[in-house]
């Protein structure tokens, strides 16, 4: 066999075997859920990992951080309701690299909220933040995140206020912390307070998932606020005329609203026969509390590409 023939045979073999191994990998991806043990975390002791990393903790932390994000991202994408490994993954990451701020942020945004938008473990989120504060007492963001969890997920406004107040004493802290600490006492339930919080989260993160989550909440907040005001207008209308408004246009005319009110996507709000103000496409506002049809359950929080 000449050199040229040998080369041709070798090239053909190369292509065949490359195809074969790729096909096999593809096939194994299909059967994986039934064969592979599901996402087991065999080494769950951060202390052991820290020693085992032989000094390459930073790198190992980065790997664990990537895994945490992927774990959450993939399961979120697949509409999972159980995020049991998110907390340990984040804990290991931050033990390996206590200065990895984005891991704490991620915990505040996704560890505390109830499923399907988070792991539903606010207590562990708080532990994570307190650990972070202990490691980085000079970083105001961690106090902010701690207060955020208390406020959003536990509705414990006193503790949230404490956290914001502690944070506001840190050098170079964002002035908004002082405002938030004050608001907690009397105006905790105000839309404005919630808006300040989500805006601050939005402005101070560089993580895309966290940012989109904040956008969704800001959109939902606007819906909640709009619907509250419009519902009051409906009540005034009924008080004055004794009937329900037949349409949003009629309500707007009688109550002197500046035009027909629209939701954040630019679609006009609607009024049902029972006099309820609702958004036109409820699925677009998974975090909204008001303006949704009775009994509506959002399937999953879909993230909108950069809609403000």
């Amino acid at each position: 066999m000449s050199r040229r023939n040998t080369s041709i045979v070798a090239a053909v073999c190369l292509v065949i075997f490359l195809g074969g191994s790729a096909a096999l990998l593809h096939h194994s991806d299909q059967i994986r859920p039934t064969t592979a043990p599901e996402d087991a975390l065999y080494i769950d002791s951060p202390k052991f990992l820290k020693r085992a990393s032989l000094g390459y903790q930073g790198l190992l932390a980065d790997i664990y951080w990537t895994r945490a994000v992927q774990y959450f991202g993939v399961r979120h994408h697949n509409h999972a309701t159980n995020y049991a490994l998110l907390a340990p993954l984040l804990e290991i990451t931050t033990q390996l690299d206590p200065q990895l701020m984005v891991a704490y942020e991620f915990g505040a945004s996704f560890l505390a909220p109830a499923p399907p938008s988070g792991a539903g473990e606010p207590e562990r989120a708080i532990q994570l933040m307190e650990y972070g504060i202990q490691q980085n007492p000079e970083n105001w963001k961690l106090y902010y995140d701690l207060g955020f969890v208390y406020y959003m997920n536990l509705k414990d406004y006193r503790k949230a206020g404490d956290a914001f107040a502690r944070g506001s004493k840190v050098p170079h802290a964002l002035p908004v912390l002082k405002v938030l600490a004050a608001q907690m006492a009397e105006h905790a339930e105000d839309f404005a307070t919630a808006r300040i919080l989500w805006s601050a989260t939005y402005q101070n993160t560089r993580d895309e998932l966290i940012r989109q989550n904040a956008i969704e909440h800001l959109r939902a907040l606007r819906v909640d606020e709009d619907v509250t005001h419009l519902q009051e207008a409906v009540s005034r209308f009924t008080g004055r005329t004794g009937t329900l408004p037949s349409s949003m246009a009629e309500l707007a005319a009688v109550e002197h609203l500046p035009g027909v009110p629209v939701d954040p996507d630019g679609r006009p709000y609607i009024i049902t026969a029972a006099g309820r103000v609702e958004v036109k496409v409820p699925a677009d506002f998974p975090f909204a509390v008001k303006g949704l049809p009775p009994g509506f359950k959002p399937e999953l929080p879909r993230f909108h590409p950069q809609a403000k």
Partner: protein, 258 residues
Amino acid sequence: MNSRIFHIASNTFREAVRDRVLYNLIAFALLLSGAAVFVGQISLEIEKLVVINLGLTAVSLFGVVIAIFIGIGLVSKEIEKRTLYTVLSRPVRRWEFIVGKFFGLAGTLVVNTFFMAIGVFAALFYVSHRFIRADALIFVALYFAVLEFIILCALALLFSSFSSPLLSAVFAFSLFVIGSFAEDLRSFAGMAHGFTRWLATGAAYLVPNFSAFNIVSSIAHEQPVAPQLILHNTLYAFFYAAMALSGAVLIFENRNLK
């Protein structure tokens, strides 16, 4: 098998055994017996776990080191020292040389793993004084380790066929590390978009997928191994090693040996 391939393989085996592999076995024996005695004294509950974990991890690491460090020298060292000239001036085809070298090293690794396996079982017997059914799973882990070595030695040979030993070592070792995280790479590819996705998917299918081969931790916890996984890994190792070997032949057949 063609007799020249056989002779090249057995000569490679003999060189490797005399050169370095013996030291490796001595180091392995010392490490394992020391560890067995040590954990036998301190822990009662997890001593078996530790011996299995440590033993199989050591088998894997020693094998990987041997596969890479002997594999990278197989061709480039022969060019550098001009021993290849005296081989290729005989009626030996270049592809026979590559294939023979591969089988020689693969054989070395199999025999080496066999002896290390005896060590693992001896240490296991020392700490638990008997064998149970689940211990048979260790054979599966050892088998997977051998498959992993075979892929690595084909890769080392591939790099060795066109680059210097140092660069080959860097390439082979990087691929080993990337390959161990292949699963993560593929899930990353699944989440990425556009060009990144295209690139990541390509890379994910091209790098060796070692994540499926490492079952040491689950073996230590006596979790069963799916038969499909054994079949899958066997086929995959065969395909991947054959691919790397074809690449090595393709490059080597057309290379000017300066």
